[in-house]
Amino acid sequence: MYIVIAGCGRVGSSLARQLLGEGHEVCVIDESPEALSLLGDDFAGRFVIGQAIDWETLHEARVGEADAYVTATDGDNTNIVSAQIAREHFGVRCSVARVFDPLRADLFEQTGIRTVCPTKDAQELLHEAVGSCLL
């Protein structure tokens, strides 16, 4: 499978390496060339410099051919908009955005993208952890 990830921070870079390890073809987009270093010297995927909502950057990353698109930049709004561009313009059916704000994460599922909300997940895990401590 071909997977494009926008945002090469801790999450984006780790996810890229994980997917590569599973045998997928991976392309990572980040606006900063320095972000490449997070992927490690042995990174065998592609790296495109540009912004996640810039159509030319997305073309260069061949988002139109992607089986899945993931946005994990540090901006919720950028992630949501970029994931929608991938779906609505480039026709990627599996388009997933990382959204920290639980309210926006819920609302924008209506637009056809999938959202993952680390805030909600952390809260649930912490709740579980507290619960098991108290047992």
Partner: protein, 237 residues
Amino acid sequence: MFIVIVGCGKVGVNTARSLLHMGHEVIVIEQRKSRYDLLVEELGESLMFGDGTEIWVLEKAGIARADLVVAVTGDDEDNIIISQIARLKFSAPKVVARVNNPFNQPTFDVLGIDATICAAANMLRLIMHELPAHKFVPLLTLKRENIEVVELEVGETSPLANRRIADLVLPDGVLLSAVLRDGKALLPAQAAEIVPGDYVICLLEPGSETELIHAFLPDESVAAVQAEGEIEFYGGE
């Protein structure tokens, strides 16, 4: 009318002032503390501090009863998100969004945000209008209303030249609204006839452009004239 404006930069604050002056009820949301502090004395309760891309902030501003939402921050992704929240969550009857970077216009279009204003594109249109030898300028496009205003030169060989305006048969879906002669606009009744070298300002349905250009500039390639008038931006940001 109750109007919620997100973004109190130069555009936001001047929009707010005008709307307040016209007697409307206005709330402007600004997320930069320094900007908020600067304007709060003037705008008082019409100014609210917060991130207007957050649903709860918009809710607190009263977006649920807004007649109009205006998204004029300096970030296009924020303006898109504000417009979408207004529509999806609060069913706002009208939303107007600012496009900062003209390269992002297609994103607004593809996401169905149809009432947009792009200062860069509008400026380019007016500059084209001021250029001495222009043939065709699309002055204004109202996408949702499905109508546009164009300015077009009257060519020497146009079958419509040197004819009484009242007798002109224009393509379907076109209304001749004004004639520009020697830098002055004349209403059709004042101009009486059109002569080569005049410019006509027409109101038309998108799609009638081709026929209209052919009628006024029969010797020109329609595609070339359209390309000349196209609002295009090149290069990076």
